[in-house]
Amino acid sequence: MRIPIPQFLILAALTSSPILAADSVACRTAKGGAANATEITTALEKLLPLLNPEQKKALHHPFDYGNATRWSNLPLGVVPRNGLRLGELDEKQEAAARRVFEGVLSACGLKLLDEVRLADDWLKAYDKRPIGWDGGNYFLTVLGTPGEKTPWMLQIGGHHLAFNFTFNGHQPGATPLFFGTEPIQFEIKGATYTPLDAQSTAMSRLAAAIAANPQAKLSGTFTDVVKGVVMSGVPGQMPTGGTDTGFPQSYPAGDQDRGVKVSALTPAQRQLAREAIESFASFPGKSIGAPLLAAYLDTRAFADTFVGFSGSPELSAKGSYVRIDGPRVWMELVVQPAIAHPEELHYHALWRDKQSDYGGEIRK
């Protein structure tokens, strides 16, 4: 049984407009989780007795490089996940898992989780090969020992979602946070969903506002996010990669080909940059999200942040891309051809923090 999407979210989706406010305000003003390690630990302790031994084993793994970087933007059939499969939970288990999600995610994060899973449910009818498009193929994973002192991670993810939250690390860790959707908009049982409406609208409005500035145009072509997972393979061999084995990432330096600095923008353009950052940073609960957002919007850091784009600012064609690249923040959104219906489009988006991916806790 799937937990129903709150009515206010359905209404928000149905009334979604090109203006950012409608969709995002609905979740941003709703009460979300605090992302407090103690509360989440308690919620996990309540889930644990409801699980059978096999499920308990699936839920817990050591907090190390291999497990932490085991997230992907590829379906389960391509990159198997560690973790407790949400599609196999009974009603009591699902309710207990929901308490964990409600503890760590904001209302926007919960909305994203629900709607991205629904998008995979929508895709399921087209999964003829099959490769695992299914809203049930999303997982909850605990790395390390939950508590208040030592570092540990909570991962929630599947095909188009990877939440990687780190507690008690060197820094609050909300990233890497990958999210995407195919299709961009869909209907299920009479309700319309646009999972990345807030983020795509915010990035599009930012790109449109800066498009006239020659510095804002990034060189080259983008067919996926730049700092995401990659895979490779040739006939006769199993595909390799597909997880975050590129971590730690290197990032552009200097002023060239990074877009235009926020300090050079008009006040109205700066506001759009701020809204775009806020839209990506809206998913974790407060104790994780608030300090990161404060760091990104710190006067000096924000002024030194670059915003750039490629392709169509309206995000109406494949290869369209928008990026925010600051002293710490890295946020990118790209438009790709859809897989189920290649004539249509789908989104990939990624938020990384140059200092606190995985809470600054893992090394290769």
Binding site: L74, V78, P130, T223, S232
Partner: protein, 156 residues
């Protein structure tokens, strides 16, 4: 849970990457270069001059550690399909200058990556029946030191 892994895997990924498969032989390095046509199309739109051989020679070279160029020869190029994506597969022959070792060189390559910012070229070296990952190149990186892998231990 069993899925049609090999049949569908890359088709789930709309931005396939390249792979340069090296094989160290006596005095020479042979290679097979798998380049996805979908990503190559973006790169060729930015750099359309000449045929594919000429394009490759503009974007793939090798040199000694002290900068002396290797000879790169493009051999047969065929088309192949792998997991829903179409590739050009080129045979390459890389030969060191006189007196230089053929077991250690610097690969200088930016085919596709000169244009497609997310594209990655994986470089592998054959070792026994398998291959070692030597490294990967993504914009702006285009230089990679390559050394021959240690021989596989003989089985008794």
């Amino acid at each position: 849970m069993l899925f049609g892994l090999l049949a569908g895997a890359a088709g789930a990924h709309p931005a396939p990457n390249s792979q340069l498969r090296l094989e160290f032989q006596a005095g020479v390095v042979l290679a097979e270069y798998w380049v996805p046509k979908s990503e190559l199309a973006w790169a060729r739109a930015a750099d359309p001059a000449g045929g594919y051989d000429a394009y490759l020679l503009r974007h793939l070279a090798a040199e000694t550690q002290d900068g002396k160029p290797w000879q790169v020869i493009i051999g047969a190029v065929r088309e192949s399909t792998y997991m829903d994506h179409e590739y050009l597969v080129a045979k390459l022959r890389l030969a060191p200058p006189a007196g230089a070792t053929a077991r250690d060189f610097v690969l200088v390559a930016d085919a596709i990556t000169h244009e497609v910012r997310n594209h990655v070229v994986f470089v592998t070296a054959r070792r026994g029946d398998g291959a070692d990952l030597v490294g990967a190149l993504q914009y702006p990186a285009k230089r990679l030191r390559v050394t021959a892998p240690q021989a596989v231990a003989q089985s008794r």
